[in-house]
Every structure is written in C-alpha cells, then in structure tokens.
Homo-oligomer: 504 residues x 2
C-alpha cells in the first residue's frame, strides 16, 4: 500500500543524502551542529541511570547547566531532591512569544554484556561495511572533515534523550554565528526523572510555574516517523491499567477427581476476553468507543502519514492486523483494550489441577473523548452484565455460596491523553517553520499510540503542547546498542533552528 | 440433595461407632489389628521419600520384608536398582485362586516446618478436644486398653500407603489366631516408586511376571469414599497432557504504539478456549464424547454412590458445578478437558506490551472409550477448523507471512484409563465379601476421576484389577499433617480379612 508515497520518500531520501554531504557542509547551521559533537560525546560519557545513582544524575545536571551557559544561555538547577533538573533560558523580550523546550538527561538501565562495545558509557562511532555489519571508526573522524550522515554514535542516551539537549545548544550557536537572534524567547527544561523512579515532573513544574511559564511547549523526545522525515506529533494516548481476576474453588482442585465438575476459572476468564473483543480486535463493550469521531481534516491527516504498513507487518511477523481503524494512524486514535499479561497456576511447572483463579492484566490506551475512568466503569458494567458478581478482592465465603460467577477488578491508575488540534497556532507555527526549512510539509501525526507524561506540564503550565521527535526510529532506545544516526543530529539542529527562527 | 442417604449414613456411622468401642473389642480380627499397632508405628518411623534417599527406601524394604516373614508370609526383595520392592506370599494351594494385593511403602516429600509435630517421621497419636482442636495423647494408649476409633495417628505415610501394608499382616494374623487358613492364595507387592521419580513398576512386573501371576489384583491405595463406608473402585480415568501456544508478533510489541493494530495472542487463545467448552463446562469439540454410553446398571451405580454434592461444593467454595453428567459420579465417567495452567508475559511484573505468545497447558482425563491419542487428534482438528495453522513449534518466517492465525500443540504423553465391569467376577467376589462383613453393600464407584498407574500391572499381568481404598478421605495425604483415623485401621483389617475369607 502507499506505493506512490514510498517512491516519493525514496526520492526525498536521495536528495537529503546528497544535501548532507555537499550543500550542508557549507551551511552555518550544519557547521554549528558539527562543532558540538565533541561535547555531545562528553555528555554521553556520564552514566545517567536515575535508579542506579543520584550522584550520576547530579554530575549530568552540573555538566548540562555549565554547557548551556557556555552556549550563551542563563541556566540554573531546579531542586528535585537529590536529582536536580536543569532550567536554561535564552532571550526574554516582551515583544516575542516564549517557547519551552523539554528534554531529559536520564537514561534507561543498561546491561553492559548485551552491548557490542566495551561500555554503554564509552561512545563508539560506527559505519556499516559492505556486508551490512557495524564497524567502529576512530572518534576523531567527528572533529573536522566530512561526516557521513549514515554513521552512528552508539551509547546509552545517544538518542534518548541527550542528543536533543546538545541540538538545542547548537541551534542557538547558529544564530550567534550569524549575528542574529531567535524570533522567540527560549526556555529549556531538562528532566532528571523521565526513565525511572517516581515521576517528579508535576511537582517541579508546580514549584516553578512562573519560571517555566511559556506560550507553547515543544517536547523533544521519542523517535521520528519511520520514514525519517521531519515529524510533528500533536498528541498521545493516555493509559489506564487494571487487573481482572476470575475465581474458581477456594484452592487448586485435583483435575482427576474434580475435572468435569468444579468449574475452571481459566475458561471463565477466556469467555470474558472473548466477549470483550471480536476476532478483528474491535471492542464489543457497549459505549467503549463513544465520543470518538473524526472530521474530514483528521481523516485526511491519518491518510497523509507515509506509513508503510506492509513493512510494519513484516517486521512484526504477523500476516494481518486488527481492524479497529481504516489504517494504522486511525487505529491509534481509538481507545484500545489490551491484555498485557495473563496467568493461571504455573505454566512452567504445570500440575494436574483445576487452578483456583485466573487473572489478566490490561492496559486501556485512552483518547481525550474516552477517559480511563469511564472506560474502566464500562468494563466493570460489562463483566457484571455477563453474570459476574464483582467482589472487593478475593470473595468471602458468603459470596462464594451465593454467586456462581465471581471476579474482581483492581487498579485504574494511569496517565491522561493529550490532543492538540491540528489547526492550533502551535501546530501552524511549527509546520510553517519546518516547511520553510525542508521545502515540504512535515509528517504530522494527529496522535501517537503510546503515552508520554505530559500531564504535569499540561496541568502546571496550561500551554499548548507539541512533540517534535528528532532521532532515528531504529535507535534501539531503551535497549542494548542504542544509537543516533548522525544525519539525524544535523537534521535535528536544522529543525530546531527553523522553529527558533519562526515567530510564534 | 440426597437427604435420605445422608440420614442413612448418619445412622450407620452411629452404629459403627457403637460397634467399634464395644463389640469390636471382643472380635479376634479387631484384636489382631490392635496387636500390630506398635509395628505400624515402627514402620512410620522410617523416612521413606524415594527422591530424597535410596538408603531410606532400602531400610523400609528390609523392615517390610522381615515383618511379612514374622507374620507368617514368605518374602523377598525384588531388584529395582537401589530401591528394591518387596514381594510376599501366603498360601499356594492349587485349588484356590490367587489374589495379588498391591500397596506402596514410599511417601511424598515433607516440609517439616508445616507439620504440627516435631517430625513427620515421629508418629503422634492425637484426639480432638471439646473445641475441635487436635491434642496429643501418649503413644502407649495404643498398647492395650480401649482405642477410640476417632483417634488418629499423624505421620508421613500413616495413610498413604503404609497402613494397608500392616493391615494385610494383621488380617493374616487373624486367620492364624483362629486356626484357619484364608480361602485364597495371597500375594503381596509393595512398590518403592509410587510417589516420585520415574515409575519402575512396569519393568519390575515384567521381570517378575511368573512370581506375580494372579487371578485378580486388588490395589490398596487412596482414600475411601467421603462417607467412610467400605469402598470398591472399579476403574480410573487416564490422563493425556498437552500444551497449546498461540503466536502473535515475533516479540513483545509496545501496547501504545501497536495496541489496536498488532493482534494480541491472549485474545486468540481465549477465543479457542471459549470454543472448546460451553458455559456449563461441556466440551464442544465434535466427537470428543463419542463412544461414551451408560447402561441402566451403570446409571444406577452412579446414583447409588452416597455423594453429598452440596457438601462438596461448600468445601470447594463454589456455588455451582459444571454440568457434564447428571451427577458427580457420571461426570467422572466422561473424558474431561481441563486447563492446568495458562500464561502470557509475566503477570507479576506486567509491562505495557502486546505479549508475543499466549499458552495454556491442558490435561485430558480419558475413559476407555476415548483414548488420549484420539482426543488430542480431535483437539488439533478443531483448532485447525477455527482457522489456525498449526506449526511444528514456533512458526517460521514463511508461516508468519502466510497464516493470519498461528498456533502449536505439543505433548500427548499420558497414562491409560482402567475400567473393570461392575459385574466382573472380581467385583462380585469383593462385593460379596464386604456385604458379608458389614451387612450392607459397599460403596461401588464405577470409575474414579483421578489416574492410578495401573498400566504396568494391567499389561504385565493381564489380570482383572479392583481398587479397595482403606483410609479416611480426610487423611491429608501428600500434605502436612497426614493422618490415619484408627477406626479405619480396624475397618481396613476387617475388610481385608473378609476378602481373604471369601473364595474367588
């Protein structure tokens, strides 16, 4: 599907590649980007696993604060217990609008033995050889000389999310080198708690509301669209988790002496799951999709995203996809009901028993029209409509004697969705900036399927929010051999420079 | 349900209790039983966990062999690697039929900390106090004086299965004390491998076919009917295990980015389970019950078993039972399809993913009309009829690209069922013997739901087999605080004596 788009993308990729190795070399924005690469490597050398070491995060915060100051920003640490965040600022003219850029300096835990290099915190520059294998290059290849955009830097947080921090400084440098000033006031918040531990962002935002106040927020996190074209994301789904347990006998029962007689809760749970969804993955719970409607502009936006769905299915290794929406993007704009895990007894050591209970954990990905609390209430009602009595935890003896079908539902915690209208001023501004820089419209994703902890920013600042991911989609983020494609580093600086040059 | 039967049982219990404390005291069979109690305690003092110590089993075997010889049997060890079995014999007259009695001397593993006594291998005599709590009594209460049938001996294998070994010797003693000989030739096989490790019975039987040859086999194992009335069991179900795995994507997929798009195999597995059975637990797989028919005699036998189904449900803690048969006994005479465990991802640590696979392990309890291989073939056909392609283990890339629904089925090992006709000579003989001893028909169970490893005996000896369980149903076998009710010890000796006195 989308054959014309694929062709167009190939042509674009060829143009970009040509541009990067010749025209970009004479581009002051490119030069500014290249000049920051040694600092970028230094930043990657600082271990940054919040859960592992607060002292590591303190070292990152001190380094980042000093770096912003070296690059012309004012900067300060924001108190957050023993893992401070960093605030930086450039320009404060009343006549200009203010944009707050968000990124984070902490990273996911590492298992060094899984990496194809000595340490996740010793960055390695690599290029693909003729056979497609990654081969290390000397790091000094990054100091002067032509840089192949296909080279990659491998290290924890190379992409997620230290690259955007340095890209911000490089973009500011480009204005300075050209003797110009950005068209917006720039604020920067660098989070220390995005990847682990209790999220502290809402508290930090609340305590620093005035300092962080902005007309718009741009979050620099996550990977770009798989086409690697400049990408704007206008929202994300929320998430609500819960656990459904179906109860059988008081304890495991001998499957010989009681098989065909004592009901097996695994079959009961299976019946509920089967009632929840049809064979195409559409939720059958009444009201679950209520309020979800798409106008013509939104439907067109779904269709305009250059997804290669055939390639997606091939990568995943499945011959067909669920049929909730007409295409991948539309599917992500409906709430989902997903089983994240399921269990009865111990499948690694099955004994010949009728298990006493069977459980499934779920996540509901929500959209603004379908709040998690409403969806969970609909699930509860539906389970009751199937004849189940919902107990508060494990059933009492009286409940066991009275109700043939017993279950419980626990949980309901989650995070809220975010949706910025496609025609909101922040979207018009960013789209215009990127169109100006690249000569064509960016990929505009109405809503990404995953969840980003924007709630603290939304509630605390009440500013419109947009996500602008800058790193390659195949960056292995959260896993071993995380990497940044250097072409994306240059493109990211170019995109940020374009936004900074565009009056809001 | 069964109110009249319950009343009749209460009356019978009262009569038995009265008999045990007065009439039995003057009964030579009762006296012979009482005289063996000190030896019974000695036998319980020998640790007997096959998997834990072969030397322990050797000590048990030597003790059991010597004990049979003390009680007038000839006896020998049967080679079985380092865990010998014991063979004993009493009488060898050509004019008499020969019955082989089977019991086992090995026991289930113990967790001493879970026991309410110093050691599972230091037997403790206990009586219930007014509050219903068990209180220890001096062991010498068992040496002379009246013995309350409600007292119990607590120790590993007190019930399962050392008591029947001593009961056999006591029953033989009663003949000797009366100057009589049994009406049958008696052979005894004491297994060393029933509770754990690789079953070696088939090999031992094959190597000793001539020695063990008998006209009938009576297995003394398992608990009596819950009514505690003398019980004969005419068969048991077989068992066949398998594992069904439904495949989703190649690996776990992010539930945000792919929820509503990449199919979740947990829902696929649930749909299959729901198709397997209706809400009343009846299997919907075509042909699964084919060949199962009950004649009027068998239906009457089901109804005659004095089950208290209301009490069974109360103990289990469920308000309703599956509706495969018209009653509990009939349900156990149909093959069952039971989920023994089920899993997708890790429910203890659920992550927000679409799990890459979902599995359920099953056991099919089989009856002679429904062999395990046939049932498993029907399951495979049924899964395919639901649109699934069954791969041989995990699917290949080509299978992933071709088939929307992918699953695999592995396993199929199991044990055969056994069914001796209710009117077979062995059943008539044992029924007549027990009727004579107790003045009413025993509980006759056409087929128990669980599986007993009789196959080695059946194939090796080609003799009709009957099970005569002798111990109380609430004996905590296989668990902590295993115990034998002393009334059952006396009743067991009486039942064995009755069989031995009855010509086959």
């Amino acid at each position: 599907m989308n054959a014309p788009l694929t062709l167009r993308r190939l042509v674009l990729a060829a143009l970009l590649a040509a541009a990067s190795s010749s025209a970009w070399a004479a581009d002051p924005v490119h030069d500014a980007a290249a000049a920051t690469l040694p600092e970028y490597l230094d930043l990657l050398r600082l271990p940054n696993v919040t859960r592992a070491s607060a002292a590591d995060i303190q070292r990152n915060a001190a380094w980042v604060k000093a770096a912003f100051m070296r690059h012309g920003f004012t900067a300060q640490l924001l108190d957050d217990g023993d893992t401070p965040m960093v605030f930086a600022q450039l320009g404060d003219r009343h006549a200009r609008k203010t944009v707050l850029f968000y990124a984070h300096m902490d990273g996911q835990p590492v298992t060094p033995s899984e990496w194809d290099q000595a340490s996740p915190f010793t960055p390695v520059l690599k290029a693909k050889d003729a056979s497609g294998a990654w081969q290390a290059l000397p790091l000094d290849k990054l100091q002067g000389g032509a840089i192949d955009p296909e080279w990659r830097v491998f290290a924890r947080s190379a992409a997620d999310d230290k690259a955007p921090i340095m890209m911000l400084m490089a973009a500011a440098d480009a204005f300075k080198a050209a003797g110009k000033a950005p068209a917006i006031n720039i604020k920067v918040l660098i989070d220390s708690h995005e990847e682990g531990g209790k999220p502290t962002l809402p508290d930090v935002v609340q305590r620093n509301e005035k300092l962080l106040k902005a007309d718009a927020v741009v979050m620099l996190d996550g990977p770009m669209h798989a086409s690697n074209r400049p990408t704007l994301v206008f929202g994300h789904r929320g998430v609500t988790g819960f656990k459904l347990t179906v109860y059988g006998a008081r304890g495991d029962m001998h499957s010989g002496h009681y098989g065909n007689y004592i009901p097996n809760p695994a079959f009961g749970l299976a019946r509920l799951l089967t009632a929840f969804k049809d064979a195409d993955g559409r939720v059958l719970i009444p009201g679950f999709y209520d309020g979800v409607h798409f106008d013509a502009q939104t439907l067109a936006a779904f269709a305009a995203v250059p997804d290669d769905e055939a390639a997606l299915l091939r990568r995943a290794g499945v011959a067909r996809h669920d049929r909730v929406g007409d295409n991948y993007q539309q599917s992500l704009n409906y709430p989902s009901l997903n089983v994240t895990a399921m269990a009865a007894a111990d499948i690694e050591h099955p004994r010949t028993v009728i298990p006493f209970e069977a459980s499934a954990s779920f996540d509901i990905r929500t959209v603004p029209a379908t709040p998690g609390a409403r969806e969970l209430a609909l699930v509860r009602q539906f389970v009751e409509a199937q004849g189940y009595h919902l107990s508060d935890g494990a059933p009492t003896d009286a409940e066991r004697a009275k109700y043939p079908l017993l279950a419980s539902i626990a949980g309901g915690e989650g995070a809220a969705p975010l949706q910025t209208p496609l025609d909101a001023p922040i979207g018009v501004w960013a789209t215009k900036a990127l169109e100006g820089a690249y000569g064509e419209a960016p990929v505009r994703i109405p809503m990404m399927g995953g969840t980003v902890p924007t709630h603290g920013l939304v509630v605390g600042l009440k500013s419109p929010i947009l996500l602008m991911p800058l790193v390659n989609a195949d960056d292995n983020q959260h896993a071993a051999n995380e990497n940044l494609r250097l072409g994306n580093y240059f493109m990211g600086v170019k995109s940020l420079h374009a936004l900074m040059a565009q009056p809001l």
